[in-house]
Structures are given as C-alpha cells and as structure tokens.
C-alpha cells in the first residue's frame, strides 16, 4: 500500500449556488464562475452585432465553426479566455475563434475571425492566437482551416501587431513553410473583408473559397485606393469574389453563401490524402497508426 492517505468521500455535491458565494465549495465556485465568463465571451460583440451579421446574410464565427465540424463530436476551443480582462472587455476571445475539432472524423485546426468584435480586426492577442493555431497544425501535422472575416490591423494597437519577431509577419512565415516544406493542408475561406497584409493569409494557403457578395480581398481597400492614387472604386469591383475567381485568378472557388462555403470546405477536407507521416503523400484511408508500441497489459509496469 503506498504511504499516502486514502481519499475521503465528501458530503453530497452542492446545487448550483450563485458564483462567488463563499458557502459553495471552492472547486464548484471556480467552475461556476468559469461557465459564466465563457457564456459572456461566446457572445462576442453582443446580440446587436450578431443580428447585424445575420442581416448581412452572414453566419457568425461560432456558427461557421459549428457547421464546419462533425456534429456531436468534441471541439476543444483554444484561447477563449485570451484578453478577456483587457481593453475594458472590448476584445472577447481577442476577436478570433481558434481550436481543434474533427471534419469527417479527421482532426483539424480551425481559425475564424469574429466580425462582431471590432469587425474582426487584429488585436495583438489575435496574432498570438492565430500563431498558436498554426503551431498546433504544424506540431500535429493536421490540416488548418482559416475562415477569414477581418478589417485588418487594429491601428491604435498596431505597435503590438505589425512589428517584431512574433508579430503578424510570422503568420505568413508559417503559411509559407507549411505550403513549401511541411505538406500541411491550408484551406482558406474569405467570408468577409480581407485587407492589406491580411490578404497574404489566404494567398499563402493551398486553396481560397470566396463568398459571393460579402467577401473582399485587396492589398488596399477602397478608402486607401482613393487616398493613395485618387481612384474611386467599389469594393466588389476592386476585390470582390467574382473578380478574383474570374479576372485575377487569385481565388479558386466561388460560394453562393456561408452554408455553401462551409460545405465546400468539408468536401475539400474529405478529399485530402491522409498524411502517412513519411512526407510522401499516401492515398486516402485510415489515419496513420499512433507511434506507441503495442500496449502492454495495463497492470504490467513498463
């Protein structure tokens, strides 16, 4: 018998007391406080902004992720709490939903800008979360899906976004390495604005789906073009889905709306060859055997 004292059973579990109430056991209280914080953060910019996106014919980031992943399967969100205590609460989940889930039974990483939070603009912490998601994809060698819907750099905070070794440039560094050497599938869907340097995230992915009427890709938006070269041009003509899928050829697929776009991504993921770990791309089929040796009977020490 190991020298440690045996566990002691505790009295029956307390009901859902109000959070912060000292009478509630600490572990239960911390759990309830966490659930309340999560519920608030998952609303993103709030119901008014969610309605505005719906009125524009768009799903919210969380609706897109829920539709993208296999129903009923686990989704582990990564970084929901990031920046929850910063910017006076104006940056819930740092304006981007990231996590690990499954599509057609296959583990994937998902990154989805939240347009209800400052139009999906990049806070410094948005960059940290996108980089973390890419590092997970590279560490696990699983596909990554970007659902892009972002107004670009959040200018008042550009000092923490633009420069530096771990600033936004690193996103494009990881894009480039995944594409050229690591063989990690990157699928980008532009489902809203995608402006300036931000355009390089989809552009350095393997394939781009753009949603008709609501998506835009351009190194400069209409305002910048007006200011820089004095030309007045509408977003649709400058960088809309039709232009990029027929004239520039920058994008590869045109989707009628969010549901069609999400379904297209599921099809693209399903068609991906399985990664057999050797770098040589094998045909479809079972995921690679986990590297662990055949499991010894649980009771035997190693």
């Amino acid at each position: 018998m190991s020298p440690r004292s045996a566990g002691s059973a505790r009295a029956g579990k307390a009901g859902r007391a109000s959070a912060g109430d000292p009478a509630v056991p600490r572990v239960r209280r911390l759990a309830e406080e966490l659930e309340e914080l999560r519920a608030r953060l998952r609303l993103g910019g709030g119901t008014k902004r969610i309605e505005r996106e719906h009125a524009r014919g768009k799903w919210t980031a969380r609706e897109r992720v829920a539709a993208l992943l296999d129903p009923g399967d686990t989704f582990v969100e990564i970084g929901l709490l990031v920046a929850h205590d910063l910017y006076d609460g104006r940056a819930p989940a740092a304006g981007v939903v990231t996590g690990v889930g499954r599509i057609h039974g296959r583990e994937v990483v998902v990154v989805a800008n939240d347009a209800t939070v400052k139009a999906g603009a990049w806070w410094p912490e948005t960059i940290a979360k996108i980089l973390r998601a890419q590092e997970i994809a590279m560490r696990c060698r699983i596909p990554i899906v970007y659902l892009v819907d972002s107004a670009g750099v959040n200018l008042p905070y550009q000092g923490g976004v633009f420069p530096g070794k771990y600033g936004a440039a690193r996103i494009f560094y990881y894009n480039s390495l995944m594409r050229r050497y690591l063989g990690i599938p990157q699928i980008a869907a532009v489902m809203g604005p995608c402006i300036a340097g931000g355009a390089y995230l989809p552009a350095l992915s393997d394939v781009i789906v753009m949603v008709e009427g609501t998506s835009f890709m351009g190194l400069g938006g209409p305002n910048l073009v007006k200011g820089a070269i004095g030309q007045t041009v509408e977003a649709e003509e400058l960088g809309g889905a039709r232009m990029h899928t027929s004239v520039s050829g920058v994008a590869h697929y045109l989707a009628e709306d969010d549901p069609a776009c999400i379904e297209k991504i599921r099809v693209l993921i399903e068609a991906l060859p399985r990664w057999d770990g050797s770098g040589a791309v094998g045909g479809g089929g079972a995921p690679p055997p986990p590297p662990t040796t055949p499991p010894p009977p649980p009771s035997a020490p190693p």
Partner: protein, 300 residues
C-alpha cells in the same frame, strides 16, 4: 440575398468543449467519474489530497500503474491510458511523504535530488518506448538548503529538465493546482513547447505563491522589526496584503487563460474528452514533437 427574408436555420453553438462525453470515437470511460474531482480536490489549495484517486478520474481503468512507487514517492511516475491510448504520467504527490532512509519526511509538491533523477530516467525510458507524456502539475518548486545543494540537486534538476525538454514524444500538461518556480519549468512549463496545456479552474500557475512573495520582498524588514521587538505597522501590513492579493489574482487560472499561458481552462467533466481529442490530434505526427516546426529530411 440569403437570410434577409426569413429565419435561416443556423447551426447550434451551445455545445461546450469536450462535454460531448459520448463522442463516437471514445467508448471507454475514466476509472472513476470525472465529477468526483469536485470532492477529491481540497477546499483549501494548500491541503493534501489523494493523487492516485484524482488520476482515476482522468485515466482509463485501472488508473495509474506506478513505477518505483517506494522510491522518492513525492514524484509519482507510471503508465496508464486515456481513451485506450497508452501514455506515461508524471505527477506530484501531495502531503508528507516518508523518507525510506529514515530521514526527515519530504514534502509532496517539492522536487528533491532523488526524485529529479527518478523522473529524468523515467522520461528517457518512456521516450524510447514512444509513449506520449502527461505532466499532472501540483508542483511548488525544488528543495533548497545545504543538504540539497551538496547532493547536487542542480545537476539532478538539470537532468530532469533536459530529459523533459528533449523528449520527442507528444507532451500534454494538466495544471491541477500549484505550478510555481523552477518546479513548474521542470514539469513541462510553456517555454518548453509542450503540445498542449490544459488547466482545471483550480490551476495556480505563477512564479510563487503570494505568501512566498511576501517573504521574499519583506523578510529583511520583518527580521529587523522582530530584532527590535516591534510588529509591522499598518502601512507595512497593507503593502504586504496588496502583494498577497496581487499574486493571488495572477495565480488564478483565468488570469493564465487571459494571457495565453494555458491553452484552455476546462471543467472536470470536459477534461477527458478534451485530452482524448488533443492526444489523438498530436498522434497524427510520428515525427519529433519539438519546436514550432520540423522540416522533413532533405531540406537543404
């Protein structure tokens, strides 16, 4: 334009991570119901609890099969499984632990020279067996003092750190309770790029507990007052309370989550589902789980 006309059917986003316990791919349940964690974990974070029982809420039946249970038992090493996937587990025991050589009892949560060497060897063996590693953190630091230093605890600690840092199998971290000082580093701190870090709401990651910070910052002042037979005045007491409160706020798992120092804070009921998915995701890569990316051979 879609949606503008009528109430479009929209996907249900109410599911929370890992809560879908019965997901098609995880038929096996834990050795003990995860909800029991609410009772097993103490009301006061400083109090001891039964780590083997806590591990039975996380691992498949029979829970942890311990390795060298009688040697340096303040550090628990063993094998187990999550959802059928064989893993190796390193966890800090809590409470007082007998010294087999009749020396003074050792504190659970503290790493000593012997326990550091024990864990280093275990990690290297498990890495050779290609078993993913799970670090269950309730660590307060390394032992200090002449006995520890003369026994070469720095060398033993370095062996522990190097073995953990250079293991090429997937590494998962669960912050259960304390996670301070160099002990936190040795138990796969975030700077060592573990594959994933999950924390329960009870996790307390930080350089040191509030009490130790008060000691580190005010010990000399308190010492002088004691020599003069005086007690700290009101102003000093408030400053000490402020330090304690500041550290307690920064030790909260939500503060770590806000800074990205953990990947996610999960509820006891979500823990197994989350770990099963993340482990399966990591096992897609048979290559070395080191660094941000690993170039395939032949890239010149």
């Amino acid at each position: 334009m879609w949606g503008a006309s009528g109430q479009a059917s929209r996907p249900d986003t109410t599911g929370s991570p890992g809560s879908r316990q019965g997901s098609p791919s995880s038929p096996i349940g834990p050795a003990r119901p995860a909800e029991d964690l609410y009772d097993l974990l103490p009301d006061d974070h400083r109090h001891p609890y039964d780590m083997p029982e806590v591990l039975r809420c996380i691992l498949d039946e029979p829970g942890l099969v311990e390795y060298q249970p009688e040697y340096a038992p303040e550090m628990m090493c063993g094998t187990g499984a999550i959802d059928g996937m064989q893993i190796a587990v390193i966890a800090n025991a809590r409470g007082m632990v007998r010294d087999a050589e009749g020396g003074p009892p050792r504190f659970g949560g503290i790493v000593y020279t012997k326990s550091a060497e024990k864990v280093a060897g275990f990690i290297e063996t498990m890495n050779r067996r290609r078993r993913p590693l799970l670090f269950v953190q309730d660590v307060s630091g390394f032992m200090v003092g002449p006995k520890a230093e003369r026994s070469g605890i720095i060398r033993a600690g370095a062996h522990f750190v190097e073995a953990m840092a250079s293991a090429t199998v997937p590494k998962l971290v669960l912050t259960l309770n304390h996670a301070s000082g160099a002990g936190y580093y040795a138990m796969a701190g975030q700077g060592f790029d573990p594959d994933f870090i999950l924390s329960l709401p009870t996790g307390r990651m930080g350089v040191m507990e509030g009490e130790s910070a008060v000691m580190a910052l005010f010990s000399r002042q308190l010492e002088e007052l004691r020599e003069r037979g005086e007690v700290p005045d009101e102003e000093l007491r408030t400053r000490m309370d402020e330090v304690r409160e500041d550290y307690d706020r920064q030790l909260d798992a939500r503060f770590a989550g806000a800074r990205g120092f953990v990947d996610e804070v999960v509820l006891p009921g979500e823990l197994r589902g989350a770990m099963a998915l993340l482990l399966r995701a990591a096992l897609n890569n048979p290559g070395p789980h080191l660094g941000a990316f690993h170039l395939p051979p032949g890239v010149v």
